[in-house]
Assembly symmetry: C2
Homo-oligomer: 490 residues x 2
C-alpha cells in the first residue's frame, strides 16, 4: 500500500497480505435494511502470538461492510469478526504482514517526554502547514494542492473532516460527511462517497510522507455539524476511527479552537478523547487545539500540545508544565488579509517558528492568507503557495535533518539568546530580531566543535575555520535571524 | 538665559533681572575654611506677592557661594538669604522676572494623568535617546555630541552625573564629581570644575530644547559612587539640586536600574525621592528607572514611569495601573554588540517605539550600540549617530507634532490593532509586524474624517481621496509598520 492510493482487497475467510504499516481492506456482505450505520456494530479481532488488536469495521453502503487492518508487526496474523448481526459475526481469515516497504517508518508516536518518532524508531521532526478545508474544494484544486505539497517542505498538514463556514470559506463542498443536504442532513447515516474522496487525499498525503492532522470538530459551521447530539458525536467518532485509522499518517486533532465551541463542555471533550483512546487500535496521536484557553493537556489521553499562541517564547514553559511535545500549529499566518491572525510577514512567521524550535517546540505553524482573484487562500483551500516562508520552512527542515532532534532541549547558556542543545554534542543559538556583529559562544571546555553561522532568512550556511571549545568570541554578519550551530567532532 | 550657556551674574543686595524660566546666579562671599560643602547650609528665599520659594544655594570653592534662581512667574521678586554662618545670612536683594524669551515654554511637568506639558501649557511629547556617559568624554567629543543632537530628532536625553564603569565604558573622565582621585575621593567635597563642565552641557541641551533626564545613581561603578554612606548620598542630592535645578530642562531620574543597586534598600530610594521633593524649588519631574523589578510608581513622589521593558505592548496596562505617564526609556537599543540589550534592528526598535506610542506611552528608547574603531558607542559616549532609527524618530515626532497629543489614549476598536484616539476627533491604528492589504477602519458614524496611510518605515504619508465615517474597508500597501490616521474635518 505504500504507493497505491486504493487499498488491496481480500475476501472473507481467505488469505491476504500487506506490508507492515500499510493496510489491507477486507470486505463482508451484510444487511442493508434500516440503518446499518447506526444499528450494526461490527469489526474483527486480529491476533499474532500473544497480541490481539480489536479493529472496528464500518458500513460502506449497499450491504458492504469493511475492516481495514494496518499491521504493526510482521508475521501471520489471524482474525475473527465480531458483530451485533449474525451474518457478520464469527468469520475468520488470515493476513500475512510482510516487511515494511522502503521508506515506510510507520505511524508517528511520542518519544517521551518531548519528542516524536515513527514506529520504527526514526525521529520525526514536524514541519507543518494548515489548509483547513482543502478537501472540501473542487477535485482539480485538491489535485493542485497535492502537487504543491509534493514539492513543498511540509511533513504535516492540518485539515478538517467537516466543511468550514468562515471568511473566505463560503463555498459548499461537493459531498458531505452525511447523507442529505444542507437543512436536512441525517446525522446517523454517513455518505460513503464523501469518505472515499476524503480517504483518497489522506492516502496521497501518506504516500508523500505527510502526516494528516485530522481536525474532528470545529466551530465554523452553518450545517449543524458543530451542534450534533452527544449520541451523534459518538457515532461519528466511531465511524471516523473505523474508516481512517488504518492510514498510518493519521493524527487525531479533536478540535480546531475547542474553546470556541460553546455548546460542548469539558466533559464532552474528555469523552471524545476517551472514546477514541478506547477504540483506535493504532493509538494515533491525540491532541486538541485552542483558540485562547488551553485544554488540560496533563490529562493522560493527550499525547502532545497543539498550540495556538503568538508568544512562542513560552514553549519551554509549556514543555516544562505538561512534559509533552509542544507543537505550535498556529502563531498567525503569513499573509495580508484584514484579520490579525492572517497578516504577519514571512520574516515574522519564520522568526516565530525558529523561536519555537529553539525552545524545544515544533514549527508547524505555516499557513498563508494572501489574496488572489480566485479567493483561494492556502490556509483555507490549499492551491498554490505564494509566501516567502515555504522555502524557509524547507531550509529549517534541512538544517535539522541531521541534528539529533530527539535529544535536543533548551539549555540555559550565555544569558543572551535561546539555546537548543544535546549536552556535550550539539548546540544551537538563535539571534531572532537581534543583529549582533560580535558573538560570545559558550561551549563545553572538553571536545572540539565545528561551528556554522546559519543565516535563516537568506538561507546560507558559513562554516568558521578551525574548531572551538569553551568561550569563543567571533564576528557575525550584523543581521537578524542568525542561528549559530556547534557540532562536536567525533 | 535662553541662549547664553553661562549664567548672568548679580551682586548681593543689588537688582538683577532674568527672563522667565531662565535663571539668575547671585554670588556671595563667605567662609572657605574647613569644609563649606558639608558644613555650611545656605540659600535664599524668594518672594513675589503671596508666594515664597526657598532656593538652596551651594558652595563653588574659593569662598564663593551661589544661589541660582529660575523665576516661574514674571514680576519683581525679592529675596533674603539664610545660612548657618552669619556672613551669608540675611542678605537681601531683588530680581525682576521679565517675559519668557521666544520659544521658551518652561520646565516640563505632568499633564494629569497620562501626559506631559511645559509650564506654559504647551504639550510636551517626549522623543528620547540615551547617552549615559557622554559628559564624561573628552570635551571635543562632547562638542560633537551637542552638534549631532542639534540636528537630531530628540527632545530628551538620559545622562548620568557619575561616570560609568561597564562594557565599552572603561575610560576615566577628565574630572570627577568629588575632589580627589580614584581610590581617594572625598565624598564630602565637591569638585566645582566638574560641575561647571557638566552644567555647560545641561545649558547647551536646554538651549536646544532638549530635556536632560539626569541619572542620579547607577550601579556601574568602580570609584565608590554607588556605595557611599547615607549621609554622603544625601549631601550629594542637596548639592545636585542646589546646582542644577535652575536649569529648566532638568528631570530627576533617581537611578538607572535601581534594582541592581544591591546596597540600597527601598527605604533609601524613598528617602532620596523625599529629599528632592522637599528641596527642589521647581519640582522637576521625578522618576526611577528599572532593570527588571519596578519601583512602586504609585508612590506620591513619583511623577511618571521610566520603564525598561521589551514588551511594550504592556504600556496600557501600566498606564491603567499607575495612572501616570509611561515613558519607555529602554526597550533594547539598535545596534550590533554581543549583549541582547544592544543589538536589535532599527526596524524592531521603531516597531517597539510605535507600539509604545499607540498604547499611550512615550517613545524615548532610542540608543545605539554600533561598533566602530574608536569604540565610541552613542548609548555610552555620544558621538555620531549611525543607525537607521534616528531619521524615523524624527518622522514619528513630526507625525505627532500636530496631533492633540495630550488628549490621546488607547481605545478598544476593531479588535485587530492598537488604536490611539481622541474620541470623535482623531484616530490612529498601527499594524506593527502585520502587513494587511485590506483594512477595516472603524470610525464614528458622525462627522467626516480625512484618512492618511502612514508608512512609518519608509516615511511616506498618502492621503486617501474623499472623507470617511463609520466602517470603511480600503486597501493598504501590504507592508508592515503602517499607521492609519483619521482626523475629523472641522
Amino acid at each position: 500500500m505504500a504507493k497505491a492510493t486504493l487499498p488491496a482487497k481480500a475476501t472473507a475467510k481467505k488469505q491476504g497480505s500487506t506490508a507492515l504499516w500499510d493496510f489491507i481492506e477486507i470486505e463482508f456482505k451484510g444487511p442493508s435494511a434500516r440503518n446499518p450505520f447506526a444499528e450494526v456494530k461490527f469489526g474483527a479481532t486480529f491476533k499474532l502470538g500473544a497480541r490481539e488488536l480489536k479493529v472496528p469495521g464500518f458500513y460502506d453502503g449497499n450491504g458492504v461492510y469493511k475492516v481495514r487492518f494496518m499491521p504493526d508487526q510482521t508475521g501471520d496474523w489471524t482474525y475473527t469478526t465480531y458483530a451485533t448481526v449474525s451474518a457478520l459475526a464469527g468469520q475468520t481469515g488470515a493476513v500475512t504482514a510482510t516487511d515494511a516497504a522502503k521508506g515506510v517508518h510507520g505511524p508517528v508516536t511520542v518519544h517521551p517526554p518531548y519528542w516524536f518518532q515513527y514506529a520504527d524508531g526514526t525521529p520525526f521532526f514536524p514541519v507543518g502547514t494548515t489548509a483547513y478545508a482543502w478537501t472540501h474544494q473542487p477535485s482539480k484544486l485538491q489535485d493542485k494542492t497535492v502537487e504543491i505539497l509534493k514539492k513543498g517542505p511540509f511533513n504535516k498538514i492540518r485539515m478538517c473532516v467537516f466543511p468550514k463556514d468562515y471568511t473566505y470559506n463560503k463555498n459548499e463542498p461537493e459531498e458531505y460527511v452525511y447523507e442529505g443536504k444542507p437543512g436536512s442532513f441525517d446525522f446517523t447515516r454517513f455518505n460513503p462517497k464523501y469518505w472515499a474522496a476524503f480517504e483518497k487525499r489522506i492516502a496521497q498525503l501518506r504516500d508523500l510522507n505527510i502526516e494528516a492532522d485530522i481536525i474532528i470538530f470545529h466551530p465554523y459551521d452553518r450545517w449543524g455539524f458543530a451542534t450534533m447530539s452527544a449520541a451523534q458525536d459518538d457515532l461519528y467518532l466511531e465511524y471516523l476511527v473505523a474508516r481512517i485509522s488504518a492510514y498510518r499518517n493519521v493524527w487525531w486533532s479533536f478540535a480546531n479552537e475547542w474553546d470556541l465551541m460553546k455548546e460542548k463542555t469539558t466533559a464532552d471533550w474528555d469523552r471524545y478523547f476517551k472514546i477514541v483512546h478506547a477504540i483506535d487500535p493504532y493509538q494515533h496521536l491525540r491532541s486538541v487545539h485552542n483558540c485562547r484557553a488551553f485544554y488540560d493537556h496533563n490529562k493522560a489521553w493527550v499525547h502532545h500540545l497543539s498550540v495556538q499562541h503568538s508568544d512562542v517564547e513560552r514553549v519551554d514553559e509549556w514543555r516544562t508544565q505538561y512534559k509533552k511535545p509542544v507543537v505550535i500549529d498556529e502563531c498567525c499566518y503569513e499573509g495580508e488579509i484584514q484579520h490579525n491572525w492572517g497578516n504577519i510577514t514571512g520574516e515574522e512567521l519564520m522568526r516565530r517558528m525558529w523561536e519555537t524550535t529553539m525552545r524545544g517546540g515544533y514549527p508547524t505553524g505555516h499557513g498563508e492568507t494572501y489574496l488572489n482573484p480566485d479567493d483561494v487562500l492556502w490556509w483555507a483551500k490549499g492551491g498554490i503557495l505564494r509566501g516567502t516562508s515555504p522555502v524557509r520552512f524547507q531550509f529549517l527542515r534541512d538544517v535539522f535533518a541531521d541534528a539529533p532532534v530527539n535529544e535536543l532541549s533548551p539549555e540555559k547558556l550565555g544569558r543572551m539568546y535561546p539555546v537548543l542543545a544535546k549536552k556535550d554534542a550539539w548546540y544551537m543559538y538563535y539571534t531572532g530580531v537581534r543583529q549582533p556583529s560580535i558573538f560570545d559562544l559558550e561551549l563545553p571546555s572538553e571536545g572540539e566543535y565545528v561551528v556554522d553561522i546559519i543565516d535563516t532568512w537568506n538561507m546560507k550556511i558559513d562554516r568558521l575555520k578551525g574548531t572551538f571549545s569553551g568561550m569563543t568570541r567571533f564576528e557575525l554578519p550584523g543581521k537578524p535571524w542568525i542561528a549559530i550551530r556547534a557540532v562536536r567532532k567525533k
